[in-house]
């Protein structure tokens, strides 16, 4: 039993079999990467995990509880946070306010009015937010408008927002997509630091093999909606089926 | 049964106007992403094109007739239209009588021009602005346009009759095998329906079968990509705006004999046409047309005495009830694409 167990998940869109009999187990405190060519069903799978899509059949269990049929915010409350391909942050809010929202969410659950208190009265939470910002090297930008940040900073902010929730599982959807090599390396370093500092499980969907092989403990290769192989990185390199899947794509 | 057929006819006729206005609104929204609150005003200007042409054609010179007196007891001033003098009385009267159909030709260049000027001069600057700003500026424009019309034409409705050959009514029921006098329908409304079908057909074939239309449709789907292909999409969108204005204008021209035009007729249609667009699905042209006819027919059915006796007041609110039900059951409208205008 892993932290996250996906069993026999199927998903069809009209005539297209997007996912077919996907089985996957993500072990606690591991970094699990899902790779595969374009259209392999990686994003569909991810969306099934966070409640944006509901699989036609099969089960998705997280920490022993099913996530199926739950809304995204409920799944988040169970301990799954998600980093998007393009950073999703609150662009109209300041960096600091971006950090406060997940803190309020964690404290209050889905809804609590707090209409008559000032944000600045939340001393304990402010300290926590500042500490987290410091960890991702963004404390000096706390009053900036989040929408005006560079892409790399937006990515850091988004990760900080996810981490401050202390999730059990962090889902990363191509965290380095569209980044320059230097930024990519920075992100890899950041993720490694995060990994080393706390007990966290990560599940990464990634295109960039460099990122995958630098971080992952285990790798699942997905092709045409079905897992081809699942193994440790060393064995994935040069695996004939993987080559076939990627070369097939190249052809 | 005959009552239902009659109300369906009515609905199709009402629906024609709704569909034409909604079609233009959807074109503008789909291509430019602009919520145009001045669209009702364009419809109204179309109707006033008919009024204007009627006035131009009946421009008169004045002669004094000493044998009669006016209300103040002065010698009567008799106005004779120039066309009477030029072409003889019967031909002249005939020309004036046909001013509404003639106004179709007159209105197309006028409306295209108004559309171009509006897009280049104002709307262009609002593509990237929030919808709320677009609403405010186009609403302001609508007020200005209708006040200008009011200044020149007054607030009272102005009779703009159809040619005599097309007034009167036609016993539709006999054709279908009903008794005479059961389903009677005015010629002009049949003309209006046919005309609307023609315009809708023309717009669709234009979008479907021309390169221009293809580019515009592609632009509606994904503006950025089309821009990347090096196609000057902006120019085409300007033309599209002109076409949308012309469609609204044509709807207005032909509507003039049905109800005498007045300066606020655009506002009367504005809210309704937005409901039509949304029920059809924002950005969906077939949806707009379908919803226009559907709401027209439902509105007609709701005004039947039997229905009103069953649910008092239903004729006042039917459109809104339908809108609420559709939006709750089918959030994207009848034929809308996912994700359009939901954020």
């Amino acid at each position: 039993m892993g932290l996250l167990d996906v069993k026999d998940v199927n998903k069809r869109f009209g005539g297209l079999q997007a996912l077919g009999d996907v089985n996957l187990s993500v072990a606690e405190n591991s970094v699990h990467a899902i790779i595969g060519p374009n259209g392999a069903g990686k994003s569909t799978l991810l969306n099934c995990l966070v409640g944006k899509l509901i699989p036609d059949t099969g089960s998705v269990m997280f920490a022993g509880r099913s996530v199926l049929g739950r809304k995204p915010y409920e799944i988040n409350q169970m301990g799954i946070s998600r980093v998007f391909q393009t950073p999703e942050i609150f662009g109209d809010l300041s960096v600091f306010e971006n950090m406060m929202i997940p803190l309020f969410a964690k404290r209050d659950g889905a809804f609590r009015m707090h209409a008559f208190e000032g944000v600045t009265q939340e001393r304990g939470l402010i300290g926590e937010a500042e500490k987290m910002l410091d960890e991702v090297d963004m404390l000096d930008k706390r009053e900036l408008h989040a929408g005006s940040l560079s892409r790399g900073d937006k990515r850091r902010l988004e990760m900080a927002m996810c981490l401050i929730q202390r999730p059990k599982l962090l889902l990363l959807d191509e965290p380095t997509a569209g980044m320059a090599r230097a930024d990519t390396n920075n992100t890899i370093e950041l993720l490694k630091t995060i990994k080393n500092k706390r007990d966290i499980t990560m599940c990464i969907i990634e295109h960039d093999m460099h990122v995958v092989f630098s971080l992952a403990d285990r790798i699942t290769v997905l092709a045409q909606g079905t897992p081809l192989v699942e193994d440790v990185p060393e064995n994935i390199k040069g695996h004939p089926k993987v080559k076939e899947a990627y070369l097939g794509e190249a052809a | 049964m005959d009552a239902l057929i009659l109300q369906t006819l009515n609905g199709l006729d009402k629906g024609s106007a709704y569909a034409l206005i909604a079609l233009g609104l959807t074109l503008i929204f789909g291509t430019l992403g602009v919520v145009n609150f001045a669209h009702g005003a364009l419809f109204m200007i179309g109707a006033f094109c008919a009024v204007t042409l009627q006035r131009i054609l009946s421009a008169s010179y004045v002669t004094i007739d000493d044998s009669r007196t006016d209300f103040l007891g002065n010698p009567m001033e008799v106005e004779t239209p120039y066309v009477h003098a030029w072409f003889g009385e019967s031909v002249g009267a005939g020309i004036i009588e046909w001013s509404v159909p003639l106004a179709i030709l007159f209105s197309i260049p006028v409306m295209l021009l108004i559309g171009f000027v509006m897009e280049r001069g104002l709307i262009k600057h609002f593509y990237k602005r929030p919808h709320a700003d677009q609403i405010l500026v186009t609403f302001g424009l609508a007020i200005v346009l209708q006040e200008i019309v009011k200044y020149f034409y007054g607030a009272n409705p102005i009779p703009t009759p159809a040619p005599d050959a097309l007034t009167g009514s036609f016993d539709f029921g006999v054709l279908l095998g009903f008794d005479p006098n059961v389903i009677i329908y005015p010629y002009w409304r049949l003309v209006y329906f046919a005309f609307a079908a023609l315009v809708i057909g023309a717009v669709f074939s234009f979008l479907q079968f021309t390169t221009f239309g293809m580019v515009v449709r592609a632009g509606m789907a994904d503006r950025e990509t089309v821009g990347l292909l090096g196609i000057n999409i902006d120019k085409r969108f300007t033309i599209m705006f002109g076409i949308a204005a012309a469609v609204a204008g044509l709807a207005g021209v032909m509507y003039a004999p049905i109800n005498s035009p007045n300066y606020h007729m655009g506002m009367d249609f504005l809210v309704l046409s937005f409901v039509v667009v949304v029920v059809g699905g924002m950005g969906s042209l077939p949806g707009a047309v379908l919803a226009g006819f559907l709401l027209g027919i439902l509105e007609s059915f709701a005004s039947m005495t039997q229905v009103i006796n069953l649910i008092p007041g239903i004729n006042q609110i039917i459109i809104y009830v339908v809108a609420i039900v559709v939006l709750l059951v089918r959030p994207r409208g009848l034929m809308g694409r996912k994700g359009v205008m939901e954020e």
Binding site: - | N156, N181, P186, S300, S303
Partner: protein, 453 residues
């Protein structure tokens, strides 16, 4: 809860700071005079509250022309208009009680709310002692209520609902215009003469108070003739296309269509009815007929040739003195001075507003005071003549004018756009008079006159 009403109306108090050079404003709302906005200087301000935007803007504009003309005449300008023919010869062109008449204007927007806001600004800011004008009953009733509370006189403009002097009548409000009951009572005999007693009527009625009031009146009048009412369908006020209401009429077995509509509604429903061929149709072996109980010149102009032959009623018509003679004197005097100033003949809305202004000025003169209670007393049961309607009574019981009603029908071949209707007859006042406690007017009471301050 408190019941302290120490200073019942003692709400407006004037205080002056010592040392400040106290120049009297053009008006005072003072206790010393005992009523709201008592004029103290050498001028008096009247408030003309008419629709200037919205569908009735043209009617409002015509009312405003009449008011301006009336003020000009009161101040001694122009040819004096109906002041010459008015049976009371108290007005001499020196203003009212020697005070020059000034006026302020406002926009009712044909909305009760906006009309009250506009009237309040006239009372509170401009110090108007009288409010007049308006083009719909909802507005008239709302503003009448306001004037009652504020303690000024309201001389209503065009308002035709029974309620204005029925269940919503007020001691400070006066109506010169006729009402739905009178329309129906006047039309009844004419309809009998034109179309006989064996008729089946189909009613389309605007779905608001005036429409109901009109429909109820005409239904009872026609049923008294022996007509049968087949159906009464309520149409939404915002309706612009009436096709779905008109289409079923022929099938219903009716042979008369009564359009209880006004303004844009009436123009559209009549146009639609003619489009559907109702004017040429046959039903029950008779020619199908259309009736529009309340006519107005502006509506007739909007409907164009569609009104040909269609009967209805009016409060007054500019041709009446020429056609029906001396009894309606004043008409020509008014038409002359209005026509000379503006270039076209006045509408009935203009006439009623002009008459109301003169009636007010005359009442002030006779009362010798601008105090609303004194004016009301002067107007109550006041009989007069020479204002174009023939001998007229301002009845004390409900503040309604009783006078002849003009029955008209659309002309077949109008000479110009102002000559659209022909007069069928003037129904004598006796036929349209009713008891103050008539069921259509019951409920509500005048209350007592309020002088404000």
């Amino acid at each position: 809860m408190t019941k302290r009403h120490v200073t019942r109306r003692g709400v407006l108090r004037t205080s002056a700071l010592a040392g400040a050079g106290l120049a009297l404003p053009t008006y005072l709302r003072a206790q010393e005079s005992g009523f709201t906005n008592a004029p103290t200087g050498d001028t008096v301000t009247l408030g003309f509250n008419v629709p200037q935007t919205g569908p009735y803007a043209d009617e409002g504009a015509d009312e405003l022309r009449a008011f301006e003309l009336a003020v000009e005449h009161l101040n001694g300008g122009g040819d004096g208009g109906m002041m010459q023919t008015f049976s009371e010869q108290n007005l001499d062109g020196s203003g009212i009680l020697g005070k020059k008449v000034e006026y302020v204007t406002g926009d009712t927007q044909t909305k009760s709310d906006a009309a009250r806001a506009s009237a309040r600004s006239m009372i509170e800011k401009d110090g108007a002692v009288m409010i007049s004008g308006g083009s719909s009953s909802g507005v008239a009733i709302a503003v009448q209520g306001l004037c009652q509370e504020a303690g000024v006189i309201f001389m209503s403009g065009l308002t035709h609902s029974n309620d204005t002097t029925g269940k919503d009548k007020k001691a400070n409000g006066f109506r010169h215009f006729f009402n739905a009951y009178m329309s129906a009572a006047a039309l009844g005999p004419v309809l009998e003469g034109l179309y006989g007693t064996d008729r089946k009527a189909y009613h389309l009625t605007a779905d608001y108070t005036w429409g109901w009031s009109q429909q109820e009146s005409i239904q009872s009048a026609t049923e008294a003739l022996g007509w049968e009412t087949v159906e009464n369908v309520l149409t939404p006020l915002a309706q612009t296309d009436f096709s779905s209401y008109i289409a079923p009429v022929l099938q219903s077995g009716a042979d008369v269509l009564v359009l209880n509509h006004y303004g844009g509604n009436m123009v559209n429903s009549l146009t639609n009815a003619v489009q559907f061929g109702l004017r040429e149709a046959q039903a029950n072996g008779k020619d199908f007929q259309i009736v529009v109980p309340l006519y107005s010149e502006l509506m007739a102009r909007g409907a164009g040739e569609n009104i040909a032959g269609i009967p209805g009623s009016q409060n007054w018509d500019w041709k009446i003195e020429n056609q029906l003679g001396e009894r309606y004197k004043g008409t020509n005097a008014f038409v002359q001075s209005f026509g000379k100033k503006y270039g076209f003949p006045p509408s009935q809305a203009a006439h009623t507003c002009y008459a109301q202004t003169l009636l007010y000025a005359d009442a002030v003169t006779r009362a010798g005071s601008f105090n609303p209670c004194a004016i009301a007393e002067a107007l109550e049961d006041f009989e007069f003549d020479g204002l174009g309607n023939g001998p007229t009574l301002y009845r004390a019981a409900d503040h309604q004018c009783f006078k002849d009603v003009v029955v008209v029908r659309g002309k077949e071949n109008p000479e110009d756009e102002f000559d659209l209707v022909e007069i069928v007859e003037a129904t004598p006042v006796e036929q349209v008079t009713y008891e103050p406690d008539h069921p259509m007017f019951s409920g509500g009471s005048l209350g007592s006159c309020n002088a404000g301050a």
